[in-house]
């Protein structure tokens, strides 16, 4: 009798367990089948933001996604970073623009994180917030004289010739000197050297900003030094850009044969990397080739290796740079990583110049309420999931907050790097959704786009929609046609906003 009762109770227990799992399954089914939208906000409309948006919308049919950007124009560095004479690299905006045809997507230009809307407000109105706002500041050298006139960051110069509305006034003085020094040997450094030494006539049919073209026509720059801390084996540029700079008309490229000597560690490095191998081969070719006699070379480009800047010195004008003091370096292996670092040798030399560009790296800016690793200049994260407590133990994931792009990885890589970066972050979001890591946060009703519109209305902020951007786009293209340029960029905040709000 007693056993019967036990058996009945066990059966009841099984029954109840079965019923509850059935219920869970039922509800999960309901949730995914329901049209309850998942509201996502991506902060930053560059390649990282757009690739993330594309992948989120594709992977999740219930997602309603907004991209916000502080500029009235989307596409980030594709518009303001890629050099004007690299139009094919900008073709990717066609793919990004197709996103605008998706009803579940909206673009909000002229909306700035921090001023127009705060991070906590965004987290309140959206289920998922992905930060993709990149790196809008610069690494600094921290050496004496860095504040002298005539010293610019690469980012400022690139923004200037690309017509970024924030850099119209930071115009470099190109008429007062014949020598410019570029610190760094990455592709951005090569872009700067190329824009400075290129015949301005070659830039006339590109989308370079008009004020930059006018200034370059009157430029007196004839010599550019590309200075790197390490050797040709470690040069950060890539083959395509190097090949391009070699084919510049009227520009003689100089490399010292002595710099090309390879150590056994250098040989190891070259064996491991195809990119570095091909770059080193190109640099060796330059060093061994004779200057062409039949073409007059009015301009010179010098690759300077194994030198790091120690200080900047003024001459007569105490506020303007006229010399860079460089310390010779040698390479030393850094632990077991195989990576070689530059170490100062104590020997110094000076280079006369009137213009300096620091192309040593961009840096991200922190935002109120956001964990930030100041040393690396990134938001601490695990495959895109933001970690609280600056990544130190004990750390937790901040639910619903993710990062992608330069803010996540640091400011390096090409446009396509963001493709894989976005895939990883979207993968983390998908995993979190499926495993319920975002409960109960995700099941709350959030206003999403409507909430953002409400906030912007309250603050009287006139945002720029994608259709508004298309008005700017059309005007730029039409103005460009008059000058045989792909577009004539509009470079002032006022004019951009005026056209967008027509």
């Amino acid at each position: 009798m007693y056993n019967c009762l036990l058996l009945m109770i066990k059966k009841l227990q099984y029954g109840i367990m079965a019923l509850s799992s059935l219920q869970k399954w039922f509800f999960r089914g309901i949730c995914s089948a329901s049209s309850k939208p998942l509201h996502v906000c991506v902060v930053g409309g560059g390649p990282a933001g757009f690739y993330t948006a594309e992948k989120m919308l594709k992977a999740h049919k219930e997602v309603q996604l907004d991209i916000i950007d502080r500029l009235p124009t989307p596409f980030g560095l594709v518009r303001s970073g890629v050099a004007p004479d690299h139009p094919e690299t900008k073709i990717v905006v066609n793919q990004f623009s197709r996103l605008a045809e998706n009803e579940r997507f909206s673009f909000f230009g002229n909306v700035s994180l921090g001023t127009s809307v705060s991070l906590s407000e965004l987290c309140d109105i959206y289920h998922v917030v992905v930060l993709a706002y990149g790196a809008e500041s610069d690494r600094i050298l921290g050496i004496p004289g860095e504040d002298l006139n005539g010293i610019h960051s690469a980012r400022e110069f690139v923004w200037w010739y690309n017509g970024h509305p924030d850099c119209k006034c930071v115009a470099p003085e190109l008429k007062t000197t014949d020598t410019a020094v570029v610190l760094g040997q990455g592709n951005v450094a090569l872009d700067i050297a190329r824009i400075l030494l290129q015949d301005p006539a070659e830039l006339e049919r590109t989308d370079i900003a008009e004020h930059a073209l006018a200034s370059l026509r009157e430029s007196s720059i004839r010599k550019v030094y590309l200075v790197g801390r390490r050797g040709p084996v470690q040069a950060a540029c890539t083959a395509k850009e190097l090949r391009e700079i070699l084919s510049l008309k009227h520009v003689q490229v100089h490399i010292q044969e002595a710099d090309l000597v390879k150590s056994p560690l250098d040989e190891e490095e070259l064996k491991r990397s195809r990119i570095q191998r091909r770059v080193y081969d190109l640099l060796s070719k330059i060093a061994s080739s004779q200057p062409s006699d039949h073409v007059s070379c009015e301009r010179d480009l010098h690759f300077v290796f194994f030198r790091r800047p120690a200080s900047f010195l003024p001459c007569n004008d105490a506020n303007k740079v006229c010399r860079v003091r460089l310390e010779k370096t040698f390479l030393k292996e850094n632990g077991a990583t195989g990576r070689q670092s530059a170490v100062g040798s104590g020997e110094f030399e000076e280079l006369e110049c009137g213009l300096v560009f620091k192309s040593i790296g961009y840096k991200s800016l922190p935002v109120d309420g956001l964990p930030f690793n100041d040393q690396k200049g990134i938001v601490p994260n695990d495959r895109g999931r933001v970690l609280s407590n600056a990544g130190k133990e004990p750390s937790n994931f901040v639910p619903g907050l993710y990062v992608v792009g330069w803010l996540k990885r640091g400011p390096t890589g090409i446009i396509a790097t963001n493709l894989y970066c976005a895939e990883e972050t979207v993968g983390s979001i998908t995993e979190d959704l499926q495993q319920g890591a975002l409960h109960p946060h995700i099941s709350l009703d959030k206003p999403g786009r409507d909430g953002l519109l409400h906030i912007l209305q309250d603050k009287n902020i006139r945002f720029v929609s994608f259709k508004d951007w298309e008005k700017i786009n059309t005007k730029e293209i039409n103005d460009g046609k008059l000058k045989s340029k792909p577009r004539e960029k509009i470079t002032s905040w006022e004019e951009l906003q005026e056209i967008a709000t027509q």
Partner: protein, 227 residues
């Protein structure tokens, strides 16, 4: 008959496209900057000779060299497409065999290509001779990225040729293609850019793998050691 007509149309358009690009490349190599005709639409097969139907000549710095190189490739492609077109026309107007044999011959003007995605899923498609793998992928809804739309300015259409024999039947990549392959993720010994692999009869049965997005991609575009 419909299929034949469509095939011919496809051949004709791809042939005339080739001819157009070829003439532009010849102009480029002779350093002539003629006005673009702008006949073709957006999906034009752009070569590295910097001729764009909408924008005209864009970068004149390295036009000569690039134009000459891709001109040579264009010449080959144009030649192939011309002979394919002639074959198709010959068969259409002079063939005395029945429909069955015609259909068989139609099949030969397309090759079979199998795409394998990073999860191992396979999709076999038919690609007309002369079409690039990138174009073919997009026409068949295969997830192959093409950020620069075939203008040799990115590496997103990177594919891995799974059979070494087929890989060896391809022409060597140009410097421009190699420069872009440098930056491709998951690069291997038989990697190529999908926009530069053009369908030809010898490639029938070719299998192309889409590279797996590596989790630990390094930030500086560093490519893992090829294996």
């Amino acid at each position: 008959m419909e299929l034949k007509r469509m095939m011919e149309k496809g051949l004709l358009s791809s042939f005339s496209r080739s001819l157009h690009m070829l003439s532009k490349n010849i102009q480029g190599s002779l350093n002539l900057h003629l006005q673009p005709l702008g006949i073709f639409g957006r999906r034009e097969y752009l070569s590295k000779a910097y001729f764009d139907g909408d924008k005209g000549w864009t970068s004149s710095g390295s036009i000569q060299g690039a134009a000459l190189k891709s001109g040579k490739a264009e010449l080959q492609t144009t030649g192939q497409r011309f002979s394919m077109l002639m074959e198709s026309l010959k068969r259409r107007h002079f063939s005395t065999t029945g429909n069955g044999a015609d259909d068989q011959k139609n099949e030969k003007e397309k090759i079979s290509v199998t795409f394998v995605d990073k999860d191992g899923n396979e999709k076999e498609i038919k690609v007309p001779i002369g079409m690039s793998m990138l174009e073919a992928a997009h026409e068949n809804d295969i997830d192959l990225e093409g950020a620069c739309e075939g203008s040799l300015a990115c590496s997103t259409c990177h594919v891995i040729v799974m059979d070494v024999d087929h890989y060896n039947k391809l022409e060597d990549p140009t410097d421009e293609e190699n420069d872009m392959l440098d930056l491709a993720f998951g690069l291997t010994e038989t990697s190529r850019l999908g926009c530069q692999v053009i369908a030809k009869p010898e490639l029938d049965g070719i299998r192309l793998a889409l590279p797996a997005a590596t989790r630990n991609f390094a930030v500086d575009g560093y490519v893992p050691k090829p294996h």
